[in-house]
Amino acid sequence: MKNIIFSLLTLAVVPVQAFAQQRPDIIGVIMGSQKAVIAVPDMRGAGRASGLMDIVNGTLFRDLEDAAIFKMAPKSMYPTRVPQQPQEFRKPLQYDPTNRNAAPWLQDWSDPPVNSDYLAFGYAAEQDNQIVLFGWLFNVRQPEVAAAQVLGKIYFGPIDETGARKVAHEFAADILKQFGVESLAGSKVYFVSNRSGSKEIWSMDYDGASQKQITSYKSISTMPSVSPDGSRIAFTSWAMGQPQILVHSLETLRRIPFLNPRAGTNQNASYTADGKQIAFSSSASGFSQIYMANADGSGVRRLSNSRAVEVEPKINPKTGNEIVFVSGRGGGSPQVYRMNSDGADVQRLTTGEGQATNPSWNPQGTHIAFAWTRGYDPGNFNIFVMDVNTREFVQLTSGAGRNENPVWAPDGKHIVFSSDRGGRGQIWTMLADGTQLRQLTSAGINEKPAWSK
């Protein structure tokens, strides 16, 4: 069980080794402990930027913490002398942490009690009606200032909350890039909300900011799936009468053609990694079965062949030659199955206990997250992660409402899901080890999240 989590979290660490070939210091730190320790003291701002620093500091801290590659040094241990720019560092002849008059020095951060490996610092100012953020990342384990600088950059944005968030996201993304990690800051979570009076598709930033309504069919529109390039969104809607698949451009927000097979229900569209094909389920045969078609709905072919309800096909994003799906075959309750992308070699992945639904591949194509009632009453789903090769699984949530529709973040380490643990269904994120829970929505009932780059 622990091995699964360990391998998931270390996957993200692998790229750091590549980077570390140029900067041996980073690999040393990473390999020395599980995670590098980073200190992120609050930055100060001048002029109108000062009023925006809570947003800048909060966004930066959260982006770095959310990336889950760092251990955040506890703020209460930070030294009192916090540098705002590199020139303030003065190497003392004899380092004395108790000397309150001394200039800031790297050891303030690397020594106990902070014990940090890295320091992100800087300041913001107002310039030509813009917020300007000067940001640095220092490796505080280095003996000299000249060797310590890993990153130093200037960021610009409009002098308002959006601009404050933008410069902080960009600074965080650059820091993460030094460790070979793509920031989630630019990523979007699409979801379904009834807050406008009917179920519509909405979008938000990965941290819950800027929630926007995407569709307005005033019907039921649900189960969104985003194309890998983020340009299109496919979903299931009753807008035309029977539930059918609709596709919208995320650039124009307009509907683009998708040819549904003649069937009472077409649902659960999901894209292949190249975005050229869509897998979906259709009741054209009288039973909901798994089908594949071109992205515009042409060239339909049936993949599964059973007299059972089969839904939610998801194509392995890495190999493209494997599909996981949910089936009630055998007359039992729904379970997660896998098959080759031509429909051959069908195998059940879950044990047959409870109801198992909502499978979702991680970007590496090695693990699935899914919802399972194993050990609970019908309908009381929890989030599980399974290694598809070994079928070893681990339970991430327990005893906190109904937890459904887990979907991986592009970084392969976060999972977004819905949970009614607070009373009503809301969108939450967590790390793939079940920690770092965050609630992203609160207005109305929200469900069916999808995470896109």
Binding site: G264, T265, S288, V311, G328, Q355, P378, G379, E447
Partner: protein, 272 residues
């Protein structure tokens, strides 16, 4: 060669067909000229009054703006007319060897209830006959429904008469009680479909909340299809039954209890 042969054969067949057709006609003798049936002997010296064989309005009740057809046949009249502006409908020379027949029809579009009087006369006297065309107000123009307003709409009848078929958890098999419900539904649907020739029934498939929305949508589809197949087997017209799955998206109750869940595991009928 083959083509020529074939066309020659076709031609021969055609010719023989026409020849046969001609032959058939030859033996059919023309019917003998029968004497007119009105040749019933009438006493010549005394001129009888004309006879109005019939004077009708079809239909006798119309909606305003619609037409009624007046039809008449009068014998022995020298002149005949209809009031309400229709005027003279025929004249015949007096003293013919056979009584004159005046017959015809005319469409009328009265805007109110109107009585039409036919007057036929000859030297022997005058006869009148009257018909009345009743005119009713048309229904409100906005609704062109085939069902008059006092009658329940198709949707109302379906909602009142057709009961849900219930299902077991995670199942779409027609169980015993659903079998009874659907059998009763089939009898009623046959009658209702006869009374409302344009109505269509949608069978909605629903599921309880304890399952994924995705799987329940497939399950609801199965339930609707299973109910439809059962009704079709009992002789209900298939092309008037559509299916629509809602899965767990439109529950009729939201309590966290088996009573409520059972209500939601259903095939439900609506009329359009």
């Amino acid at each position: 060669m083959t083509t020529n042969k074939a066309s020659a054969l076709t031609l021969a067949l055609c010719l023989s067909f026409f020849a046969a057709g001609c032959k058939k006609k030859v033996p059919a003798p023309p019917p003998p000229a029968a004497p007119p049936k009105a040749a019933a002997p009438t006493p010549k010296p005394v001129v009888a009054r004309p006879i109005v064989k019939f004077f009708t309005a079809e239909p006798s009740t119309i909606e305003r703006g619609q037409a009624s057809s007046l039809k008449w046949e009068v014998t022995g009249a020298e002149t005949a007319s209809i009031n309400q502006g229709l005027g003279v409908i025929g004249t015949a020379a007096a003293g013919g060897s056979t009584p004159a027949v005046i017959s015809g029809n005319r469409s009328v579009f009265p805007s109110n209830t109107t009585t039409y009087t036919l007057t036929a006369s000859n030297s022997g006297g005058t006869v009148t006959e009257a018909v009345t065309v009743n005119v009713t107000a048309p229904p409100p123009a906005a609704k062109a429904t085939p069902t008059p307003s006092p009658r329940a709409t198709f949707g109302e009848v379906i909602a009142r008469e057709i009961q849900d078929a219930l299902f077991d958890f995670d199942k779409s098999d027609i169980r015993e009680d659903a079998r009874n419900s659907l059998t009763q539904n089939s009898d009623k649907l046959k009658t209702i479909f006869r009374d409302y020739p344009n109505g269509t029934v949608t069978i909605e498939g629903h599921a309880d909340e304890r399952g994924s929305a995705e799987y329940n949508l497939g399950l609801g589809d199965r339930r609707a299809i299973a109910a439809r197949e059962f009704l079709v087997q009992l002789g209900v017209s298939a092309d008037r039954l559509r299916t629509l799955s809602y899965g767990k998206e439109r529950p009729q109750c939201t309590d966290n209890s088996e009573t409520c869940w059972q209500k939601n595991r259903r095939a439900h009928f609506t009329g359009q």
